[in-house]
C-alpha cells in the first residue's frame, strides 16, 4: 500500500467510525425519554450495538497505526471528525438531563434514513478490497438486520397514523434530507477510495439508496424532499452541535486519559 492509499483507507474508516459513534451517542440521549418502555429498551439496544460497530472501526484504525482506539474516539477535535452532518444533529431543543423537547418523528426519520444508508454501505463493504473491512461488514450486517426492521416499522406506522403524525413526519423528512447530501460522499480522498475498490462509487450507492427507499415512499404516498448538503462532514466541516456532543462524550475519558477501564 502506498502512503496515498493508506491515507485514503484511513479516511474511509474514519467516516464509518465517526458516523456510528455519533449515531450511537444521539440514540443514547433518548434513554428514558422514548415514547414507551419497550422502545426505550429497543432504541438503547440499537445504540449499544452501533457503539460496538464504531469500536470495531476504531480498532481497524488502530491496527492501521492511527493510534489507540479509545483516543481516536475521544480525543480528536471536531474539525478532524469525518461523520456526516446528519448524525451529529441534536435530537431537539433542550438538554436530556434538564428539559429536553426532543422530536420523536425526527428520531424515527433520521434513524431510518441513516440505517438504510448504512445497510447499503455495509452490503457494498462485504466486497471491499481491504479484507479486514469486508470481514467487519459481514459481522455488522447480521446485527443491522434487526435495526432496519425496527426503524422501517416505526417509519411506516407513524406515516399511517394521525394527520398530525404525518405532518410531523413530513417536517422531519424535510429536515433530514437537508443534511443528507454528504452521507454517501467520500470526501477529499474519494477518488483513491474508489480506485482502490475499498467500496463502490458514491453515485452507485446513492442510487441504490433511492431505489430501496422508493417502494416504501410510494406505499405511503410520500414525496421525497430535495436532498441538500448543508456542509460536508466528510471533509471535517461541521456544525456547532458536534462540539457539544464531543465534550459530553469525552467528559469522563478526558478527566484522566491514562486511566485503565
Amino acid at each position: 500500500m502506498t502512503e496515498q492509499e493508506r491515507t485514503a483507507l484511513a479516511a474511509l474508516l474514519y467516516q464509518l467510525a465517526d458516523d456510528d459513534f455519533l449515531y450511537a451517542f444521539r440514540g443514547s440521549e433518548w434513554l428514558g425519554l422514548a415514547p414507551h418502555i419497550e422502545e426505550d429498551v429497543a432504541s438503547s439496544s440499537i445504540a449499544q450495538d452501533s457503539m460496538g460497530h464504531a469500536a470495531m472501526y476504531y480498532q481497524l484504525l488502530e491496527e492501521l497505526g492511527e493510534g489507540k482506539a479509545d483516543a481516536l474516539a475521544h480525543v480528536r477535535l471536531a474539525h478532524e471528525r469525518k461523520n456526516s452532518i446528519l448524525v451529529e444533529r441534536v435530537n431537539g431543543p433542550g438538554y436530556y438531563m434538564e428539559t429536553p423537547e426532543y422530536d420523536w418523528a425526527y428520531a424515527v426519520v433520521r434513524n431510518y434514513c441513516y440505517t438504510l444508508a448504512k445497510k447499503i454501505r455495509i452490503d457494498a463493504l462485504k466486497n471491499s478490497s481491504y479484507a479486514p473491512l469486508a470481514v467487519a461488514a459481514v459481522k455488522i450486517n447480521m446485527e443491522l438486520y434487526y435495526h432496519l426492521l425496527h426503524w422501517q416499522t416505526w417509519f411506516t406506522q407513524l406515516y399511517q397514523a394521525t394527520p398530525t403524525a404525518r405532518q410531523k413526519m413530513d417536517a422531519a423528512l424535510e429536515q433530514v434530507l437537508a443534511d443528507f447530501g454528504d452521507m454517501f460522499d467520500y470526501g477529499e480522498h474519494g477518488d483513491v477510495i474508489e480506485e482502490m475498490r475499498l467500496i463502490e462509487g458514491q453515485g452507485i450507492l446513492l442510487d441504490r439508496w433511492y431505489q430501496t427507499l422508493t417502494p416504501t415512499l410510494v406505499e405511503l404516498d410520500v414525496t421525497l424532499p430535495e436532498m441538500r448538503m448543508s456542509s460536508n462532514g466528510r471533509n471535517g466541516e461541521h456544525s456547532a452541535d458536534l462540539n457539544d456532543a464531543l465534550s459530553t462524550l469525552g467528559e469522563v475519558y478526558l478527566i484522566d486519559q491514562s486511566a485503565v477501564w
Binding site: E38, V41, A42, S45, I46, Q48, D49, S50, M51, G52, H53, A55, M56, V135, A136, V138, K139, I140, N141, M142, E143, Y145, Y146, L149, H150
Partner: protein, 165 residues
C-alpha cells in the same frame, strides 16, 4: 505431558468459563471458542486462543476475555497465554451446541432455532409454540422478550443471527 493431554486440559478449562449473565452455559456451549494454537517454548508452551464475539457491542466480552485468561492460568504448562477476539468466521447462532441449547432452556431462555428460514420459538418452560414477541430487543443485545400464552410466563429468547440476513 503430551500435547493431546494438554489440549484436553485447555478444553476443560475453557468449559469452566461461563457466560457472565447466563451461568448455565460456557463459552464452548455457545460456540464462541474458535481455535487454539500451541507452540513449544523453553520448558513449556505458548498458547493462543481465538474467540468469536456474539454481538459487537456486548459489554460482557471484556469480562469473558478476562475470565478465560484466569481459567487458563491455572494450567502450569502454559508459559504465555494470549486470548483474542476475531471476526472471521463470524459467530452465528447455529454454533450453539446441543448442550448449550439445553443450558439456555434451563435458564429460561429459548434457544435460537430457524426452521425453513423462519424463527421458531418454543416456550422454555412449557414447550408451547403459542408465544408472542413483546420486544425484539431485550435486556441484552443478543436477547428478545416474549410471552407464553399457554403457561402465561414472560421469557427471553436468543436472537438468531446468520450470514444469510
Amino acid at each position: 505431558m503430551t500435547t493431546l493431554a494438554l489440549q484436553q486440559e485447555i478444553q476443560a478449562a475453557l468449559d469452566t468459563v461461563k457466560d457472565p449473565e447466563i451461568d448455565a452455559v460456557s463459552i464452548l456451549d455457545l460456540g464462541m471458542f474458535d481455535t487454539m494454537e500451541l507452540t513449544e517454548s523453553a520448558g513449556g508452551y505458548a498458547l493462543r486462543v481465538t474467540l468469536l464475539p456474539t454481538f459487537l457491542g456486548c459489554p460482557a466480552l471484556d469480562i469473558i476475555k478476562k475470565n478465560t485468561i484466569a481459567a487458563l492460568e491455572q494450567i502450569t504448562a502454559l508459559q504465555t497465554i494470549d486470548v483474542v477476539f476475531i471476526f472471521d468466521p463470524p459467530w452465528t447462532s447455529d454454533r450453539i451446541t446441543e448442550r448449550g441449547i439445553e443450558g439456555l432452556k434451563s435458564f429460561g431462555i429459548a434457544p435460537p432455532r430457524v426452521v425453513d428460514g423462519s424463527w421458531e420459538i418454543d416456550c422454555p418452560y412449557c414447550g408451547s409454540t403459542f408465544v408472542s414477541i413483546e420486544n425484539l430487543f431485550g435486556p441484552t443485545a443478543c436477547r428478545s422478550i416474549l410471552y407464553c400464552k399457554t403457561c402465561k410466563n414472560p421469557f427471553e429468547a436468543m436472537k438468531p443471527v446468520s450470514t444469510l440476513m
